[in-house]
């Protein structure tokens, strides 16, 4: 692509100015304030448009700097360029109200559309950032040598890693890492939430389980009680039967109306007398008194028992077989057992349901799957970025080294044989087999290396050769190197826009017979 004509309708200090451009070196000469910066800013604005800034910063941005004082409608311009054998005319109007851009092919009159990206089609790969980074080479006068060296190093390192000095691989990968970390944090949060929910259900299940056990214990107690009752009843039954048969025997012997049999009374008296008579003194007193008391108690007891027996016989029998309170508690126990069993079953089902719920919960949910996906994407991006970069690095370095070396050899007039990027992407000069790190060479050489690197980068970046814009780049070059560099540029580049405020470049070129066209801005 070559620029043929610049038409500045009204841009900065220029009004209806037309500049025609040919092949090779186009030397824009002008003293300070002549409008050199305006011209190359105009070229940039034609290529990439000019947006109005916003807010406070707008007061000092490019837009307002070149905005005409009067009639902003005329804030416009046109550029004609040749590309792929055809001539195109690009018109832009930057006015606040009348923003407009048109692209026409002058050969066949075809109207092209900027919105549809036709300009990008014509000028592949060209964007504002990479333009500033490679094709536009500014004056470096203000930058100190140290800074320049730093800049050069960064440029080389970034470029060799990513093929574009603006791409920051390390930062990009770090960002992916951070995102992954953030995702991990979210996943943990989500997991914790789920865990809390789980724990709640588990706790509930725990309560139900405890209830079940409590019920079981109670059931055991009730069953035991029932069993005890049964055993005791059996025992009592036997006892009753035994006692009944015993009492019956005595009762049969006893006359019906007597509560105590006379023979029993006689027996007791006899026993007392015998004890008194037979046992030697003084023991007989004591023993007979004891026997008499025992007999008295027996008789008294007998009388008392007989008193209770005044109830009616059926009642008596019933009472003897099953005491009333005992009957009630047995029924109660049975009822209690039934009730407890029902409750236990209910709780058991509830417990099973909760367990099922827990099982369902342990299945992974959508959120988890989505996070897993994102994580996979991030780690793949991280991995792939590294791979691609590594893959590229070797290739880019190779190509860059090839391009840069030839250039530096010629520019320095063979003073340095080669300039190359080593494995660690450090810029190294080679001089008679000796390695010289880039920060050890003179400022001028450093600038040349920078230029060479940029040019090589632009060759790698763009398939289409674009015009090169040199903005007072050669301030630090000595005359010999300036001549060689210009010679090299003239031979190797199709179109160069060289801006300068000195006569030096023109003189050198005239002396060396390097062809150039002069555009006098003063």
């Amino acid at each position: 692509m070559k620029i043929r004509k610049l038409e500045l309708t009204h841009f900065g200090k220029f009004r209806d100015r037309t500049i025609r451009l040919g092949d090779g070196i186009q030397l824009f000469y002008g003293e300070n304030e002549a409008g050199k910066t305006t011209i190359h800013t105009f070229v940039r604005c034609m290529l990439f448009g000019l947006e109005r800034g916003r807010g406070r910063a707008a007061a000092h941005d490019t837009y307002s700097r070149y905005e005409p004082w009067d009639g902003p409608e005329s804030y416009a311009g046109a550029m004609e360029f040749v590309c792929g054998g055809k001539t195109f005319r690009l018109e832009r109007s930057f006015g606040k109200l009348a923003r407009r851009a048109e692209l026409i092919c002058l050969d066949d009159g075809e109207q092209l559309s900027l919105e549809d990206g036709d300009l990008e089609m014509l000028l592949p790969g060209l964007d504002a950032d990479s333009y500033l980074d490679t094709l536009y080479i500014p004056q470096s006068g203000a930058v100190t040598g140290e800074k320049l060296s730093e800049k050069l190093k960064n440029y080389a390192a970034n470029f060799s890693v990513s093929g574009d000095s603006q791409i920051d691989l390390t930062a990009a990968r770090e960002m992916l890492r951070q995102k992954e970390k953030e995702l991990d944090r979210q996943a943990r949060k989500h997991l914790e939430e789920r865990q809390r929910k789980r724990e709640k259900t588990e706790q509930e299940a725990g309560y139900v389980w405890r209830d079940i056990h409590r019920l079981e214990e109670e059931l055991d107690r009730v069953r035991e009680g029932l069993e005890l009752k049964r055993i005791r009843e059996e025992k009592e039954q036997k006892e009753r039967e035994r006692r009944e048969s015993e009492t019956r025997m005595i009762d049969e012997m006893r006359p019906a109306k007597w509560r105590v049999h006379p023979l029993e009374v006689a027996g007791i008296i006899l026993a007392v007398v015998i004890l008194f008579a037979l046992v030697p003194r003084p023991w007989n007193y004591l023993l007979s008194v004891v026997a008499a008391l025992g007999g008295g108690i027996y008789v008294w007891n007998r009388m008392k028992v007989e008193k209770k027996h005044k109830k009616t016989p059926p009642e008596l029998i019933l009472e003897e077989i099953t005491p009333e309170e005992e009957l009630a508690s047995r029924e109660k126990l049975l009822w209690e057992q039934q009730h407890l069993e029902a409750e236990k079953k209910e709780k058991q089902i509830q417990y099973d349901n909760l367990q099922e719920e827990l099982a369902d919960m342990s299945e992974l949910d959508d959120v988890y799957r989505e996070q897993e996906r994102q994580r996979a994407a991030l780690s793949l991006a991280f991995q792939r970025l590294g791979d691609v970069a590594l893959d590229m690095q070797g290739q880019v370095r190779l190509e860059l080294n090839r391009a840069v070396s030839g250039m530096i050899g010629q520019m320095t007039g063979g003073r340095y044989d080669r300039l190359y990027l080593d494995e660690g992407a450090r810029l190294v000069f080679l001089k008679e087999g000796r390695r010289i790190p880039a920060d050890r060479v003179s400022r001028g050489t450093m600038e040349q290396a920078y230029l060479a690197l940029r040019l090589a980068a632009s060759d790698l970046l763009y398939e289409e050769p674009y015009p090169l814009i040199l903005d007072d780049t050669f301030a630090c070059y000595d005359d010999r190197r300036l001549a060689r560099t210009l010679d090299w540029l003239c031979e190797n580049r199709e179109q160069i826009l060289l801006f300068t405020c000195q006569n030096r470049e023109a003189e050198v070129m005239r002396r060396e017979g390097i062809p150039f066209s002069l555009v006098d801005l003063s």
């Binding site: 990009a172 996979a376 792939r384 691609v388």
Partner: protein
């Protein structure tokens, strides 16, 4: 639902399984039964589905239902005859969590009454697979289907899933309710229709964003969607489209308005991959895009591509 039966004086209330989500507790059965008993004019027929399947110790085995409630609890097809309605309802209950045999394929109507209805549950691989053609040829007047939560007609004017009365989980989107129908053998069989009944539904909303959508604008869009579709509903938002690469939406803040259970951001930064590729063919960005060529739009690869490009673009230096 019971109120509807009472108001409409429904003859028959069919419950096609899964009345309970898990094993019913006794008190729950009592509760349900007392509700059914409150509409003595309506005959209730129910079966057990895969969720409340009849386990060994299930209360379904022993529970005594009210006189108007009939449970078809058998493992094999059985029928309850309702002579007053000259109707027989056939059905079977799940006795296991899963049944993979296509039990309904041979479940013919036996001609016991004038009107015969099948109460069926299942329809997927693990829960009695159902063959539509076979189902249509079984000879029933109506087939009430359960198991699938989304209401839909399986065989026109014959078989339909009523779906869940209320949506039961966040993916149960769409309307929910019951099926109301009338069978009159003299006037051309069965007519039925779906009646939306759920008090709220889950709505998945897609919100399309573009380069101009800011956080505030997105908030307005979301509020508008909620207003349009009803505040009582529960929302899940899906953000789609291409957003301004510099904007990140604050989903947490957004989720705090209204009934929003989830917002997923599927927006892509508005990087024009083709253009990016064209402009960066020879650098890392280009090579990176190249390495993912042919990635499907929803794949992990595509996600990786977007993440990687976003990282590269965002960390890109302004000027060298």
């Amino acid at each position: 639902m019971i109120q509807v039966c009472a108001d409409e004086r429904a003859d028959l209330l069919l419950v096609a399984g899964d009345l309970f989500h898990r094993q019913p507790l006794l008190r729950e059965l009592k509760e349900a039964d007392s509700l059914f008993a409150s509409i003595p004019g309506t005959q209730v027929v129910l079966i057990a589905g895969n969720h409340d399947y009849i386990r060994r110790d299930s209360y379904y085995r022993t529970f005594r239902w009210s006189s108007n409630v009939h449970m078809l609890a058998g493992e094999k097809l059985e029928a309850v005859e309702l002579p007053r309605l000259s109707c027989a309802v056939y059905g079977l209950s799940y006795h296991a969590r899963q049944i993979s045999a296509p039990l309904y394929d041979e479940a013919r109507a036996q001609g016991r009454q004038r009107t015969e209805i099948l109460l069926a549950h299942g329809g997927d691989g693990a829960h009695i697979p159902i063959d539509r053609e076979r189902l249509a040829g079984l000879g029933y007047s109506y087939i009430a289907l359960g198991h699938i939560h989304r209401p839909h007609v399986l065989v026109p004017s014959l078989a339909a899933y009523a779906g869940a009365l209320e949506p039961t989980d966040r993916n149960d989107t769409g309307p929910h309710g019951y099926i109301e129908g009338e069978i009159s053998p003299d006037e051309g069989g069965c007519r039925f229709s779906f009646v939306p009944f759920a008090s709220r539904s889950y709505i998945h909303c897609e919100v399309e964003v573009d380069r101009r959508t800011t956080g505030m604008r997105l908030r307005e869009l979301v509020e508008e969607k909620i207003r349009q579709n009803g505040k009582e509903n529960i929302y899940k938002f899906l953000l789609k489209g291409y957003r301004d690469p510099d904007i990140a939406f604050d989903l947490d803040a957004l989720g705090r308005q209204g009934n929003i259970i989830a917002i997923s951001d599927e927006t892509r930064p508005a990087y024009d991959m083709e253009k990016l590729y064209r402009n960066n063919r020879n650098n890392l960005i280009g090579k990176y895009i190249e390495s993912f060529s042919g990635a499907e739009a929803d794949s992990v690869e595509y996600g990786a591509l977007c993440e990687g490009i976003a990282a590269l673009m965002e960390t890109r230096r302004g000027e060298a």
